[in-house]
Structure formats: C-alpha cells, structure tokens
C-alpha cells in the first residue's frame, strides 16, 4: 500500500508502526471501517431484536481492530477464510454493508443470495471465501487456497481467521502442519477472545498461549494485543512479507475480547459483569485507536464526527436496501446445489 512520504515519515519516526507506514487518509479510512463494523453489528442486532432477521448471529463487537489490522496489508486479490464471528472480517476485506444486510434479511441481493445468512457471509469477489458454521472448518480450506497460490504462481497470500476454541480441533493441527511442510503463503490468525462459547482457554487448552502451538509446526508464533490496531497490523505486515517471499506460514495470536454474548442465546454465566465492563470501558479497540489518531494529530473532533455521520448514513441506507430487495422465489429452492451447465 502507498504509504506516507519521506518527509512525513521522518516526522513520525517515533510513532507506532501504522503511523509511520500509512497516510493520514488511509488511517482515517481504517477508523471509518472500524465504525462501520461496529455499527453494522449493532444494526444487525437491532434488526434481530425487532424480528426482522431470524436465526442467530455471533457479534464481533470489541474485536474490530483485529479484523482491520490483519486485513490492512492485504491486497484486494489476497484471500481470507473466516468464522461464524465473521462480519468484521467481511467488512475489513472490502464488503459492502448493504449486501451483507440483504443476506441477513434472506434476500436475493445478499452476498449468498439469501441461502447463507450471517454464519456463511462471504464476498468471493473481494477474496472472502466465507464465514463458516463449523469451528476450524475454514483452516484447511485456507491451506488449500495457499496451495493454489503456490501451484498457480498467483502470488496471493491467504489469511485464515479462527477463534481460540478452534485450536483444539484436529483440522487446525493437520492444516498447520501441511502449510509448514509445503511452505505455503498462509497466515493463521487466532482471534483469542478468551472463550469458546462458555469454555475459557484455561479450561480448554493445554498451552498458555495459542501461539505456543506454532513451535510444533516450526513456524513463527506471534502474540499481539488484538485491541491495538497498530500492533495487529504490524504483525500482519511481517507475516505477509514472509508469505510473499516464499518463506512459509505464520501463526498470529490476536488477544482480544467479545463484548456481546457468544450468540443470541447466551446468558453470560461463565464470566463476570466486571470483566465485561473492564474490556468495554478500558480496552475498547475503537476508543483506543481514535485517541491515538487524535493524540498524534491525524484527526480532530470534527473529522471523527464526520466519520460517525457517514457511517450512520451508510448503515441506514444498507438496511433500507435490504428491506426493499426481493426474496428468493420458492421455486428456486434447489438452485446452486450443483453447478449449472448449459
């Protein structure tokens, strides 16, 4: 990505990574997208509460810096596989919120034409191969995409997002091993939010850090504060460089927290109010990024206000678009099961 000019770069020499690497415009874009993720999920949650959306959903509120930081150094044709908690990844990789809302409303204009819903949200044109209803289901698929990249010499890098819970599935271990032995351009990103549903990592996982698993597959294991955009982006930047250079995969553990319950039916009985409150008040990734931007002079109150207003408008328009879109015809119920052939 085209970054800051030489003179500007010198004046920022002591700032954290992203403030040296990217232009003010790019960084404002990041804040914009972080808000877009947050407001998209709040909007989806409200639509769900009002009965406009059915099924269930898993909100990533509190994890926005992780999605944005990882996707920051990716090119448009790089690819990702995502998870059940995948709205943020989808937006970070370039999806339009109106087509995401349309999918949640089950409409034909949605990214999956109303067949997938929240749990299968994707944007294949932008390189998002899809969220996944199966924990760890996307990890081997990312390795396969990495194999394609290598065999077809496309230069694409593939990111596989997954949660802490996923690191105890066999698929995780098998996939990491293959990526390592074949030196594939894959970045494994564990968004460790402390819990897989109700089960804390302390109760589910033998190692203290998921990144410790990297040693078993002979790849770098990097731990970052997933709520600090710059830290995440820097780790991703290095992993992308390593992948593009043909040096193989990296495991990044992004330590973060989900503010909301696991899904719409969670009573939060496995964690305390104080814990949730602490993460919301003191470690909110958007608040943290915003205050850094302000402190380093990249944005002022008016600029922030403008971003919030634009995002609010985009969300309102997106919901309207979804409502006004057509539902699939019942007669098409068996479409897309197989590839249509002339």
């Amino acid at each position: 990505m085209a970054g800051a000019s030489k003179a500007v770069a010198d004046s920022r020499a002591n700032l954290p990574f992203v403030y040296r690497q990217y232009s003010a415009e790019q960084l404002k874009q990041v804040l914009h997208k972080m808000y877009l993720i947050r407001r998209f999920e709040e909007g989806a949650e409200e639509c769900y509460t009002r009965g406009l959306i059915h099924g269930t959903m898993h909100l990533s509120i509190g994890q926005e810096a992780s999605a944005m930081g990882i996707c920051m150094p990716l090119a448009e044709d790089d690819q990702i596989t995502s998870t059940h908690r995948g709205h943020g990844h989808c937006i970070a990789k370039g999806a339009e919120v109106k087509r995401m809302f349309a999918e949640f409303f089950g409409k034909t204009t949605g990214y999956c034409k109303g067949r997938g819903g929240s749990m299968h949200i994707a944007d294949v044109a932008k390189g998002n191969l899809g969220a996944n209803g199966i924990v760890a289901g996307g990890i081997p698929i990312a390795v396969g995409a990495g194999l394609s990249s290598k065999m077809m010499k496309t230069g694409k890098v593939v990111v596989s997002f997954f949660g802490d819970g996923a690191n105890n599935e066999g698929a995780f271990h098998e996939a990491l091993n293959m990526a390592a032995i074949w030196k594939l351009p894959v970045i494994f990103v564990c968004e460790n939010n402390g819990y897989g549903m109700s089960t804390s990592t302390a109760r589910s996982t033998a190692v203290k850090n998921i990144a410790d698993r990297a040693a078993a597959y002979s790849m770098p294991g990097v731990i970052v504060n997933g709520n600090i955009f710059s830290e995440v982006a820097e780790a991703s930047h290095q992993a992308v460089a390593r992948a593009r250079a043909g040096e193989g995969p990296t495991l990044i553990e992004s330590k973060t927290y989900r503010h909301r319950g696991h899904s719409k039916s969670d009573r939060n009985r496995y964690r305390t109010k104080e814990e949730i409150e602490d993460w919301m008040s003191n470690r909110d990734p958007i608040t943290l990024f915003e205050s850094e931007l302000r402190e380093f002079g990249f944005i002022d109150d008016k600029g922030i206000e403008a971003i919030r207003d634009a995002v609010a408008q985009e969300i309102a328009d997106g919901i309207e678009f979804a409502k006004a879109s057509p539902s699939p015809d019942i007669r098409t119920v068996q479409d897309y099961v197989y590839t249509e052939q002339a």
């Binding site: 999956c112 969670d266 119920v333 099961v337």
Partner: protein
C-alpha cells in the same frame, strides 16, 4: 406402580432421564461442549453440573473426533458415558470414532468387549441456522451395523428411550429434533424404559398408513386430524427406532390399510423412506398394496437460510394432507 405423571418439555424429560441414570449408576457421566455452566446449547443439561459436579458433567474442548473417541474408550473400559454433540451436524467430524470404532469394536474383537456409549444429536431444521446446523443425518448412522439409532418423538419416549439407551450394552445414537425440545407432554416420574426397536401406533386408521419419524410424527398426526373431516382415516406409525427397525408393526399396518406413505425430514433420496418402502415391497404386505408407495422427504438440497426457502425444503402439514388425499383417491 402408578408413577405420577406430569407435563414436561422434551428437553426436561431428557434432563430428568440423565439425572436418574446418574443417580442409579455411578458409572454414568456426561460429556459435551458447553454442557456445564452454559447448560448446553439447547439447555438440555441445564443445571446438572450444579447437582453432579464437573467430574460427571464434563465440558470438553471443541474436539468432536477426540471427544467422541474418549467416550468410546471410557465405555469400553467400564464407564457409561452420555456424549452430547452440540449439533448433529458435528457428527461429521466424529464419523471415524462412531463408524469405525464404536460400531465395530465388539465385532472386530470377537465379542470380547461391549461399547455401552450413548450419543445425543440435536438435529433438524426450522431454526434459521442454515446449511451446517440444520441437517438430519440419522440415516447415515442407520446404515452402520453395530449402531442402534433412535428418534424419540415425544417427551415420554425421549426419557424412556434414553434410559433404555443407557441400559443397552451397545452404542445407541439418539437424534433429537431441535424443534421438539420445547414441546410438552405427559412424562411419568421415576425410572421406566421405552424399548429400542419397537415402533408405536400413534393413531389407528383404515385407509392409509403413514410411517413417520421424529417431528414428522406430529405433522402427520395434524394432517390425519384435518383429513378426518373428509372421512379419510389415517393410521400413523411412529417408527421411533430406525436401526433395528420394527418391521412387523409396519407390515401389519400396511396389510390393514393397503396404502403406505413415509414422511421424514431428511433428504428424500436414499433415506429412511427408501428403506421402509423396500422392506414393504419385500414383505407379504406387498400383495396388499392398492396404490404405489409415496415418500415425502426433504428436498435434494442443503437447508437454506431464508425462512421461506427453509420451510419449502422439508415436508409441511399441507404437503402431507395433499399427498394423502391423492393417495386415497377413490377409496371413499
């Protein structure tokens, strides 16, 4: 021995059965994802962890293959595990241990061991959970000798069949339709069993036999009640167990009604309906048939997210009514 009968939900009935099983036999314990403090994804285990502790109500990591295998290993060596899959769809991750190990271990070792494991699978569509959380895979497991596969349709049977499953020396797979969990019905207090391998005639009739499974039993009964006004008299057989299947009850019913319709939620092709139909075609009931057999099953597609499409994917009451009318044409 007149036990008190109360109204319980299907989920409560299962929970009560698990509690009774644990009270009666200290080898019985529960394993599964988020079955402890969370109470299970569908609140079936509920507060059992508070009553029996984390030693007997064990939260596993998200490791279906390993978890199911650990249950199999514990069963072979003296314990009586009840393993909960969070959704039946995740059985696909554990197929190796279920199909290659649990089902075959006794056979391969020449009868030297038994595998008294119980596995529970919340199944079916109707919750908007889309293609990977809505499947009906019971026929997959029904295809495997060594397993027993049951689908209780009522709270009464859910409790009695679970207790029968725990008492059974062989692996029993229980498919529980998610939309049944909140359904209430009469359930006797205390211990009782409902036999595995025995179908139940839920409604007697002369014109047509509907063989249904799980939630489709209720839809078939609804359709039968609606058609009564038209003078169509339907017999509804709740199959309850798909392996080993109660052939005789179905054969006797078809001999009486001369017409057969199979209604099940799983994908129509290569499923339970095919098995029941073929079984009848091979039996003495074949000569009694007055019309071709009809199967109503799920559409040949994964379950879609859109709610209207989702409904259109599985048989609904009006579909059963229409098909039954067509099938008995000219009878009355």
């Amino acid at each position: 021995m007149d036990a008190m009968v109360r109204e319980l939900s299907y989920a409560q009935a299962i929970q009560e059965a698990m509690a009774i099983a644990m009270d009666m036999d200290e080898r019985v314990f529960l394993m599964g994802e988020d079955i402890g403090v969370y109470g299970g994804a569908f609140q079936v285990t509920g507060d059992l962890v508070e009553r029996y502790g984390t030693e007997r109500v064990i939260d596993t990591p998200i490791s279906e293959l390993g978890g199911a295998g650990v249950a199999v290993g514990a069963a072979v060596t003296g314990m009586r595990p009840i393993f909960e899959f969070q959704f039946s769809d995740f059985a696909t991750l554990a197929m190796e241990q279920i199909v290659n190990q649990a089902a075959k271990m006794r056979f391969m070792l020449g009868g030297e061991v038994s595998v008294p494991v119980v596995m529970r699978f919340p199944a079916g569509s109707g919750t908007g959970a889309a293609a990977q959380h809505s499947q009906s895979l019971e026929a997959w497991l029904g295809h495997v000798p060594g397993l027993k596969v049951i689908q209780p349709a009522t709270p009464h049977d859910a409790k009695g069949m679970l207790l029968a499953a725990v008492a059974d020396p062989d692996p029993v797979m229980i498919f529980e339709h998610k939309l049944l969990y909140k359904m209430k019905g009469p359930v006797p207090e205390g211990y009782y069993t409902v036999p595995i391998g025995k179908a139940d005639i839920r409604r007697e009739g002369r014109d047509l036999t509907i063989v249904a499974t799980s939630i489709m039993v209720h839809k078939a009964l609804e359709a039968a009640a609606a058609l009564e006004a038209e003078g169509i008299d339907i017999e509804v057989v709740d199959l309850r167990t798909i392996r080993p299947m109660d052939k005789q009850t179905v054969i006797d019913s078809v001999k009486k009604t001369s017409r057969l319709m199979c209604v099940y939620e799983a994908v129509k092709t290569l499923g339970i309906g095919a098995e029941v139909s073929a079984m009848i075609a091979e039996s003495e009931a074949f000569d009694y048939l007055d019309a071709p057999i009809v199967r109503l099953g799920g559409a040949e597609t994964p379950i879609p997210y859109n709610p209207e499409l989702e409904k259109a994917t599985v048989p609904q009451v009006p579909d059963i009514i229409a098909a039954a009318r067509e099938l008995v044409k000219g009878v009355r």
